[in-house]
Each structure stands twice: as structure tokens, then as C-alpha cells.
């Protein structure tokens, strides 16, 4: 009879913002920081889904390296010295937010997610007071064809949380990204109206992981769309532990 043994993960120490912390092999810088109560701003990352590294808000400095690293998708390494909150990083993060705000039509005052929006909260937290780049004011459609939900491309920041939760947790893979770069759009199936999708299970996970007012429940008026995403880590754990 073999006795199962727990093999301790290889652990090592590193420094984040001058504090000695211990990390395990396979962890990202973001995970180590979170375990140690060090907050790093992020928008595309959400616990329970794969890392995407798209929003670049979690960029950190590593002493001795010229380039910046996205904390959500950079492995922690032994003796690394990470800086999460320099003046340069703050400036870059605000610029990233300004670019996001200028890219689509984010009109907080009348948005159904006003007061419940991660983008809005992040802008307030990072002290973004002005948009220094010209707004693009793109003309985007709103897809209200689904019986219960709405996709408003005007409020989308292309974090792809909806794409990941649909594929990784629900297993439907309805959501995808079409186009490239600034022309990218979240689509349903092969760019069909959401209401015509044959794969969507109407589970609402995409709506609740969406950080902004891009994916919302129909019937909500301004400032009424609060998201509930506590379910996600539990769902992930349940899936992983199910034989």
C-alpha cells in the first residue's frame, strides 16, 4: 500500500516593494503580491480564469531589467526585486486608462453600470482626471437581440473575460474576438446576433464577469447593473476537484 505524500512545492524568496516575501514555483508575480496583501491594479485579470495579460495595467518594474513586465503573466523568480508602484508606473497606468476611455464611448453618467464599474473605479483610484488623447467616438451597435442580456460594444474594453469564462467555465465558447487591434470586437459564434446564437446557454456568467457596462441584463436603468462574480472561484475549484 502506498501512502500518498504531499510534495511541498518548491518555494523561494523574493522582494516586492522592498518587502521580503516567499513564493512558490509556478506562481505569478501578481499571485504572490496578492497573497502578501500588496495590491496591483488590473482589469483583464479575474481570479478563476486563465491569464490574458491584455490590459497592461498590472505592469511592474523588475530591478535590473529595462522593460516592464505584466505581473499577471510573469512568473515569480527567486531573488527578483519587483516594484509595483513607482511614479513611472502610475503615469503609464493612467495613460493606459486614458487610452481605454478614449477608444470607445464610455459615458459613465448614463451607463447602467455607473457606480458598479471596475473601469470607473480604477480611474478614480489611480487619479485619472483628464483624457489627454482625442476621443475616437466610434460608431458601435448595441446588440439587444438576446432575450435577457445586452452587448454594448460602446462600453467594451476588450478584456476578454467573457470569452474566457464562456470557454473555460461554461464550456460553451460562444464568445470570441473578431478583427485585430483597435478594430477588435467581442462577437457571438460566427459574428451572429446574440439572440440567434445556437451555443449560448444563457448562463449569464459573461455578464457578471464583465467589468463594465458592456454586458448587462436587459431592463436595468442607469446605475442599476451591479455584477455578482463571487461564484467564480468556487466554480473553478469545484470543476478542478471533480473527477
Amino acid at each position: 500500500m502506498t501512502v500518498p505524500t504531499i510534495v511541498p512545492a518548491q518555494s523561494f524568496s523574493m522582494k516586492i516593494d522592498g518587502i521580503d516575501v516567499s513564493a512558490r514555483a509556478g506562481q505569478t508575480i501578481l499571485e504572490v503580491a496578492q497573497e502578501n496583501g500588496i495590491e496591483i491594479p488590473m482589469l483583464c485579470y479575474v481570479e478563476g480564469l486563465s491569464n490574458w495579460g491584455g490590459c497592461r495595467l498590472c505592469l511592474v518594474e523588475v530591478v535590473g531589467q529595462k522593460k516592464l513586465f505584466p505581473a499577471c503573466s510573469t512568473a515569480a523568480s527567486e531573488d527578483a526585486q519587483v516594484v509595483t508602484n513607482s511614479e513611472r508606473l502610475q503615469r503609464y497606468r493612467r495613460t493606459i486608462l486614458e487610452l481605454i476611455f478614449s477608444e470607445r464611448n464610455h459615458v459613465c453618467a448614463v451607463c447602467v453600470s455607473n457606480g458598479h464599474c471596475e473601469l470607473q473605479a480604477m480611474a478614480q483610484k489611480l487619479g485619472m482626471t483628464h483624457i489627454h488623447v482625442p476621443y475616437r467616438f466610434p460608431s458601435h451597435d448595441v446588440d439587444s437581440s438576446h432575450d435577457r442580456f445586452r452587448l454594448d460594444q460602446n462600453r467594451c474594453i476588450l478584456c476578454t473575460r467573457c470569452v474566457r469564462v464562456c470557454a473555460e467555465i461554461e464550456g460553451a465558447a460562444t464568445k470570441g474576438v473578431s478583427g485585430r487591434g483597435i478594430e477588435s470586437l467581442i462577437i457571438n459564434d460566427l459574428k451572429e446576433a446574440w439572440g440567434d446564437s445556437q451555443t449560448c446557454t444563457s448562463c449569464s456568467k459573461c455578464v457578471h464577469v464583465c467589468p463594465t457596462g458592456a454586458l448587462v441584463e436587459k431592463g436595468t436603468a442607469a446605475a442599476e447593473m451591479a455584477k455578482r462574480r463571487q461564484f467564480l472561484p468556487y466554480l473553478t475549484v469545484m470543476r478542478e476537484n471533480t473527477p
Binding site: 453618467a109 448614463v110 448595441v142 454594448d152 436587459k218 436603468a221 442607469a222
Partner: protein, 474 residues
């Protein structure tokens, strides 16, 4: 203090105004045009947006009367959902609308117009503003501020904030009124009524000092239009549209909101971004009508509140029935403040006002919806069309100031004929032209006069179109 009357942004016609006076060869006035030079575009850019966002988007038309746009917009959405909203929601919306009447009328009367009435039409323009009023008559100014605060405070208590509350939603309102809040509002009504009482009593002692203004401030026969309730009495939130002629005789009544376009058409003038609505059956020339406090008092049988009814009798006895001079908009506003406070008290005494059931849920059930309510400035019409998914396809808004456009144009002509001397413009004349517009309380006067920075520009032209004189205040 002046910050309280800076309005930015305001309505779709808010902004800079221009008046052109055209003179004949004999130096006499030929024509007067009132230009509204700003374009807003709300009807266009809401296309494609979900109908549930409409009340909040439309509220942004105005910083002074966002509540009015919330009401008309939410009612148009109710019509699209084809729901009857809960009775408590109806009462709560009425409560907020009356608070809106009180605060907006207080702003118009005290902050914007009373400097003319108290300090004099010809007084020094440097102090003929709310600051001058505070310095010379602090008690009167305080009354104005407190009365406006009363209305604004109720709006905040109900909706969470004073400007653009997101509380009025399609199907009702999104939060009930707590008994504690009701008691707080009720407690504040006594002081508000005292202020309203002494203001109207005082106004009645000074109104006779303005015979020239009463005679020439848009004083001519027109039709009047407003909502009235099913009993024919004064109405501010929901009701049937009524038109009367200049003799007070009913022309058409019992018009359902959805039928408004059978009776109202809009003409586009090339000199103004503000359209000119008229009574359709009579055509643009004869179909001129006025809306607002004066029209509401002229159209209703009774106010429906004891104190306001006494004031209505007094008003009709002295100003006429119907009262034709737009100068009497001021007095009518004060009568409506009394009615508003009485209405607030009556609603709060109703047990149902604290009911939990304040919102009806429904999906879009119609493609075409109309909402009409009375804004402080007059009848406000929101007309929406949506697609099968509940997204806006078309909107038409007829704002109170728009209804009054033709009357304002005729009004400046009348006042210019009376006061302009043909060759040289004087400041007193300029102020009377402003003041006649101000009686209508259009949104374009809101952001300007009270700061003493009226960007009104008057050009005096001869028959060939050459500029004779120009007077600018900026």
C-alpha cells in the same frame, strides 16, 4: 452664492441668444427676430440606445429641470412597456415633480427676475443681479434661496442627488420612501409655505407698479395649452391636453398624449435652431399658443388645493381670465408654488406614499410611446419609437420653451415697438427685451442673467440689412 445659478449644461435651447431688430426707412421697427443659436442633437444621438437608459440620458438636457425630463421620458417608456405603474410610484413621481416646480419657480422668480422687480428695470446693471439683491434685500434673497433649497432637498432625499437623480425609471421609481424621510419632508413644508405666503402677498403689492410692462410684455391674444386633470383642474404630471382660445373658451380638450401630433405641428425657421410649434388645425399664423404657469392657470377650472384656489381667484380677478400679459407669468409662478407645497403635504399625508411596491416590470410591448408632463416652464412632450429589441429608433421632443417660441418672438417685437427709439439703443431697452423673454423663464435666460453676464447681443439694422447700431453685453 452665484454658483447656485450657474447652469451647465442646460436645455436644448440653452446658450447664447441673438435678437435682430429690423428698421424701415422711417426708422420704425419692421421686424424683430429672436435667434437661438445652439444645436443639441439629443433626438439624434439617442438612436440605437436601449429605452431603459432614456430617462437618465434625457435628464441631461437640462441642469435646472432634469426632473421634468425624467418624468416625460419615463412616461414615454411606461407607454412603450404598456404598463400601469404602481399607484405609490405615481404618487412618488408627483411628489418629486412638485418639488421640482417649487425649486425651479423659486429660481426663476427670486434669482433671475426679482432683481428687475425689486431693484428696477432701469437700475444699474452692475448690481441688478442676485448679488445686488442679497446686498440690498437680504431677507428676500434668503427666502428665495431657502425655497429653492426646500425643493432641491426633497429631490435629493427621494432620488439620491439634486441634479440628474437616477431614481425615476421605466415602470416607476427604483426606491421607496421611508416613513422617516416622509416625516422630514413634512416637517420642512411649514417653513416653505410661510415663505411662499409672504412672497405672493408682497408681489401683489408691487404688481400694479408695472403698468407699462404689463401692457407691453408679450401682451396679446393667443391660445394657451396645458395638461388638466380629468376634472378639468390644474395638473402637473399626468393628464389630458387642453387648448383654450384667447377668450378662455375651450378649443379642444381631453387630448390623449398619444394624439398630441394631431394638434401640434412644428415649423422650422431658418433663423433659429429652436423649432416653432403651433396649433395644427389653425396653421402657423393663427395657431400661436403659450404654455407654462400662465397657460396652466388659464386652462384649469380650479387649482384643486384650498390656498392655491384662493390665490387663483385673486389672480383671475386682477390679471384677467384668461390673463394675456406674459408679465403675469411671475404671479402665476407664485400661485403654483403655493399649490406645489399644498400638493406635497397632501401626498405625504397619503399612507400609500411609503408603500414597498414602487416599480412595475415589463418588457417593451409597443413600438411607439408618448409621455407628456408639465415642466415648470410648460408642457413637455417626449415621443419615442423603438425596435423589437427595445432600442431607440426615433425620438421627438417638444420642450416648453419651444411652444413659447412664436410668442417670445412676438413679445420682443411688442416690447421693442414700445421702448426702442429708432436711432439709439439704451441699456434700459435692452433689459426690457431680456425681461420679456425672462417672463417665459426659458432655459436660455437661466445661465446668463443671474451672473450679470448676459451674452445677449442686439443688432439694429436698417431696411437694407446694414447695421445701424449694436449693443453687446458679454
Amino acid at each position: 452664492m452665484p454658483r447656485q445659478v450657474i447652469i451647465d449644461p442646460v436645455t436644448r435651447i440653452e446658450g447664447h441668444a441673438k435678437i435682430t431688430l429690423t428698421l424701415g426707412d422711417d426708422g420704425k421697427l419692421q421686424d424683430a427676430l429672436f435667434h437661438v443659436t445652439q444645436f443639441r442633437g439629443f433626438e439624434k444621438f439617442v438612436e440605437g440606445r436601449p429605452l431603459t437608459e432614456m430617462p437618465s440620458i434625457m435628464a441631461r438636457i437640462c441642469g435646472i429641470c432634469p426632473v421634468s425630463h425624467l418624468m416625460a421620458s419615463a412616461k414615454a417608456c411606461d407607454d412603450l412597456l404598456a404598463v400601469e405603474i404602481p399607484s405609490a410610484a405615481d404618487k412618488l413621481r408627483r411628489l418629486m415633480n412638485l418639488a421640482q416646480f417649487v425649486q425651479s419657480h423659486a429660481l426663476s422668480f427670486f434669482h433671475l427676475s426679482s432683481p428687475d422687480l425689486i431693484l428696477g428695470m432701469d437700475s444699474d446693471p452692475a448690481v441688478r443681479n442676485v448679488i445686488g439683491l442679497i446686498q440690498k434685500f437680504p431677507d428676500r434673497a434668503r427666502d428665495g434661496v431657502m425655497l429653492r433649497k426646500f425643493g432641491q432637498q426633497i429631490i435629493e432625499w427621494l432620488g439620491g442627488k439634486r441634479v440628474h437623480p437616477a431614481w425615476v425609471v421605466p415602470g416607476g421609481v427604483n426606491q421607496k420612501l421611508s416613513p422617516q424621510r416622509r416625516d422630514e419632508i413634512l416637517a420642512a413644508t411649514a417653513e416653505a409655505m410661510k415663505i411662499a405666503r409672504r412672497t405672493i402677498d408682497w408681489f401683489k403689492t408691487i404688481v400694479d407698479k408695472y403698468p407699462a410692462e404689463i401692457e407691453s410684455f408679450a401682451n396679446f391674444p393667443t391660445m394657451f395649452a396645458s395638461l388638466v386633470n380629468p376634472d378639468g383642474n390644474w395638473e402637473h404630471y399626468d393628464g389630458l391636453l387642453k387648448f383654450i382660445d384667447s377668450k378662455g373658451k375651450s378649443v379642444v380638450e381631453g387630448v390623449l398624449p398619444r394624439d398630441y401630433d394631431k394638434f401640434i405641428a412644428e415649423r422650422v425657421e431658418d433663423f433659429s435652431y429652436l423649432k416653432s410649434p403651433y396649433f395644427k388645425p389653425l396653421g402657423p399664423a393663427a395657431g400661436i399658443y403659450r404654455v407654462g404657469p400662465l397657460a396652466r392657470l388659464n386652462c384649469c377650472k380650479r387649482m384643486g388645493y384650498p390656498l392655491a384656489d384662493k390665490e387663483l381667484d385673486d389672480f383671475r380677478g386682477r390679471a384677467g381670465n384668461p390673463a394675456l400679459s406674459s408679465f403675469h407669468f411671475h404671479w402665476a409662478r407664485l400661485v403654483e408654488i403655493i399649490a406645489g407645497i399644498e400638493g406635497i403635504q397632501r401626498l405625504l399625508d397619503d399612507k400609500e406614499i411609503t408603500s414597498d411596491f414602487v416599480r412595475a416590470r415589463a418588457r417593451p410591448n409597443r413600438f411607439d410611446g408618448v409621455g407628456i408632463s408639465e415642466a415648470p416652464r410648460g408642457t413637455l412632450i417626449h415621443h419615442y419609437r423603438i425596435d423589437g429589441n427595445g432600442q431607440m429608433r426615433w425620438a421627438n421632443l417638444i420642450i416648453a420653451t419651444g411652444h413659447n417660441n412664436m410668442a417670445m418672438n412676438r413679445g420682443i417685437k411688442q416690447v421693442a415697438e414700445r421702448f426702442v427709439d429708432g436711432k439709439k439703443l439704451t441699456e434700459g431697452m435692452l433689459n426690457r427685451v431680456e425681461a420679456v423673454i425672462r417672463t417665459f423663464d426659458p432655459c436660455l435666460s437661466c445661465s446668463t442673467h443671474a451672473l450679470g453676464q448676459m451674452p445677449l447681443r442686439i443688432e439694429l439694422r436698417d431696411g437694407m440689412g446694414n447695421m445701424v447700431d449694436e449693443l453687446c453685453r458679454s
